[in-house]
């Protein structure tokens, strides 16, 4: 939200002139029949994507010759102006290409071809998904022609179809830039900035991957990594300390996290000595006041002192009361 978002109703102003022109006069609207193809000795492929009940539908017609080249293409479309314009441009981009080349056409190519100015998007963000349909129907047609599964054309998992941002890219960008919110992800990658379906469940389309989940997963991974690194760092540091530094470090941890609980119960403790072997760092302590001789001083209390020191300083610390 900002100054430019304060007024509604500018939807159509954001369509490029090419979009408007293609909506008013689609060049490639129409059908190709089996008879025409039989006469030309070519193959007819007809593929549907979407349905009227979804709000968008397109039927793509390809006439393919014996060397896999798309000689002619047509479309029929149920949808808004941008859906019709995108279908028209998509068909234009197919003609003259081999089927395998056509599969490489993406919705981004279609949208770019509809721009008046290479720097200014052809359609407003919420209409970007219309060109995705144009891309999906190409894959469908190609899979029919080549007799392979549609999935096989996709080399990576695409999370945001409008901006074509892959799962891998998102994971990397979140990690490298330490992103903390979906808004930041959108700023960095454009993912989620268009039809918004991929942000979270319940949007315009159901998706397999959602930005909120990806963000949560990557953040959790990053946190775990950070914790592990921190633990490693402490371990490393403690080992290289001199004996006096070690005693001070142990004292500091006891002051910070342990002593208050002992004092609450009317007791205290002091460090007597530290002995290091290859395997263990043995910390000899003596209980003072109420702790001295109390039942848990050799069980619960001892255990919590030991585990606190292990967690904060080194995993091979043993605490031995005398």
């Amino acid at each position: 939200m900002a100054k430019n978002d304060l007024m509604g109703g500018s939807l159509w102003d954001e369509y490029s002139d090419i979009v408007a022109d293609r909506m008013n006069n689609p060049r490639h609207q129409g059908e190709i029949t089996e008879e025409e193809c039989n006469k030309n000795g070519t193959k007819l492929i007809v593929a549907d994507f979407g349905a009227e009940s979804c709000g968008d539908a397109v039927r793509l017609f390809w006439e393919v010759d014996s060397s896999d080249v798309i000689k002619r293409a047509k479309f029929k479309s149920f949808g808004c102006g941008t859906a019709i314009a995108s279908s028209d441009m998509m068909v234009e981009l197919c003609v003259g290409k081999t089927v395998k080349q056509a599969v490489k056409i993406t919705n981004i190519d279609v949208e770019k071809a509809l721009r008046d100015d290479p720097e200014i998007p052809a359609v407003p963000p919420q209409k970007m998904h219309c060109s995705v349909m144009a891309y999906d129907v190409i894959k469908k047609a190609a899979s029919l022609y080549l007799g392979v599964d549609e999935e096989s054309f996709e080399e990576e998992i695409i999370v945001c179809e409008c901006a074509r941002v892959s799962l891998k890219t998102l994971q990397e960008v979140i990690k490298i830039n330490d992103l903390k919110s979906v808004e930041e992800i959108t700023d960095y990658t454009k993912a989620g900035g268009f039809c918004k379906s991929c942000i979270k469940p319940g949007g315009h389309e159901d998706r397999e991957w959602y930005l909120v989940d990806i963000l949560a997963d990557v953040r959790r991974e990053m946190d775990e990594e950070k914790m592990k690194n921190a633990a490693d760092a402490v371990d490393g540091d403690f080992k290289t300390m001199t004996i006096v530094q070690k005693i001070k470090a142990i004292d500091a941890v006891i002051d910070e996290s342990i002593r208050q609980f002992l004092i609450m119960d009317g007791g205290d403790m002091e460090i007597i000595d530290i002995k290091e072997s290859d395997e263990y760092i043995d910390v000899y302590i003596r209980y003072l006041g109420a702790c001295n001789g109390c039942a848990s001083s050799s069980t619960g209390t001892l255990y919590s002192i030991e585990s606190t020191l292990r967690e904060k300083l080194a995993t091979n610390i043993r605490v031995l009361p005398i």
């Binding site: 939807l11 609207q29 190709i32 007809v46 593929a47 979407g50 349905a51 808004c80 159901d206």
Partner: protein
């Protein structure tokens, strides 16, 4: 060719007679009505006249209040939020009953109240597009603080059985609010005849100015103010009175409600002529029975033609229409009323609302018929719904990836 406006449920042209009455209150009689000097007091006769006109337009009693607000959105927010404060936060109620087809100013406010812990029941409409009184009755509990049901729907024009719902609410002892925005000035609204505690109104829907609305409050029922401040309007709604707009609303409501039957039967005749002509196109449906709708409105579905495409073609022919509520015209989703009615999901994306006014002419109707026919032929010639060659085996659309 001239511009033709067929979107009068979104807003209307200010009647030149209304504008004329408003004019002196901008630069001549500009005083603040709360000032005790004559700059202020000289505005009082005009305000009193506007108030009188409002009371007689809806036949309000002297013990009732009609409070001017900034718009019907404010009136709707005021009722819902203050009932929440008065009856739920500071009372023993916790429930509001409304419908699925209310204007966003009701629905979003209810969603907000739900976030605050209020229980809200959204009643579905029947296949005719209305909610019946016995349905309302079944959902009122002893915890219900308010029933809020619109008088007429903005998308379909369907008129709700307000008299019967009012009786149900009275019997049950529950307060009843009705969003009367699409009713006042289109159908008779007589508040001596029906039991409604609160009615929201908006001037720009009946040829008055934008930025002024009102809330009718029966028997001056207690309702905590939404806008606290300098004790304007008897302390019920603060903010310096918008004198020219109040004057305009008064004049507009008078013009819209005197000779209502005559004006509306004239509009209905034009509407019917348009509707009947468009229904001659194959595969078209109109929602709801003519006689149960506001006289100026219909929502038509044209199979195979997506709503925004139709608006585009009509706009190219200088005709302004809508796919539903103007507020929703920029989002991607289907027509709420169509979905609520349970019309074939397919219809939800093909609805076009045409709404006339007393300024609509016969000649305009004929131009719209011609343009609508032309657009339908063109868009169906492009439409996949009317394609003849069927998909290659395996090339059918197997699933709908879009959830709406």
């Amino acid at each position: 060719m001239n511009n033709i406006y067929m979107d009068n449920n979104a807003t209307t042209m200010v009647d030149p007679l209304v504008l004329e009455e408003m004019m002196p209150y901008f630069s001549e009689q500009f005083g603040n009505p709360n000032s005790i000097h004559k700059f202020g007091t000289s505005t009082h006769p005009a305000i009193a006249k506007a108030i009188d006109r409002m009371y007689s337009a809806i036949n309000a009693g002297d013990n009732d209040d009609i409070i001017f607000t900034s718009c019907a959105t404010e009136s709707n927010n005021w009722v819902l939020k203050s009932i929440w404060v008065d009856k739920i936060l500071n009372g023993d109620k916790n429930h509001i009953v409304t419908t699925e087809v209310e204007h966003p100013s009701i629905l979003s406010t209810c969603k907000f109240l739900e976030d605050q812990g209020v229980k809200v029941t959204y009643l579905p409409v029947n296949e005719k597009g209305i909610v019946e009184a016995h349905t309302v009755k079944n959902f009122i509990t002893d915890k219900t603080a308010l029933v809020s049901i619109m008088w007429a729907n903005n998308e379909t024009g369907m008129i709700f059985p307000i008299e019967e719902i009012g009786e149900v609410c009275q019997t049950k002892g529950v307060l009843f609010h009705s969003d009367g925005v699409q009713a006042v000035g289109k159908i008779p609204v007589d508040l001596q005849q029906v039991n409604v505690d609160f009615v929201s109104m908006s001037a720009h829907k009946f040829h008055g100015p934008k930025g002024i609305g009102a809330l009718y409050i029966k028997n001056s029922e207690k309702l905590t103010p939404l806008l606290h401040g300098g004790e304007h309007m008897g302390g019920r709604r603060s903010g310096t009175l918008n004198v020219p707009a109040i004057v305009g609303m008064g004049k507009a409501v008078e013009l819209a409600t005197t000779n209502l039957d005559e004006t509306m039967s004239k509009i209905a005749k034009l509407r019917d002529r348009l509707e009947d002509a468009l229904l001659k196109l194959p595969d078209t449906v109109v929602v709801g029975d003519k006689n149960e709708r506001t006289p100026n409105t219909f929502l038509i579905s044209v199979r195979g033609v997506e709503g925004e495409s139709m608006l585009w073609d009509l706009n190219n022919d200088l005709i302004g229409a809508s796919t539903g509520s103007a507020c929703a015209s920029e989002d991607l989703e289907a027509n709420g009323a169509m979905i609520a009615i349970g019309a074939d999901v397919e219809l939800a994306h093909t609805g076009i609302r045409l709404s006339l006014s007393r300024f609509t002419t016969e000649q305009e109707v004929d131009q719209v018929i011609a343009a609508f026919n032309k657009a339908t032929v063109r868009l169906r010639s492009i439409s996949s719904s009317y394609a003849k060659v069927q998909p290659t085996k395996g090339g059918e659309a197997t699933e709908c990836a879009i959830a709406h």
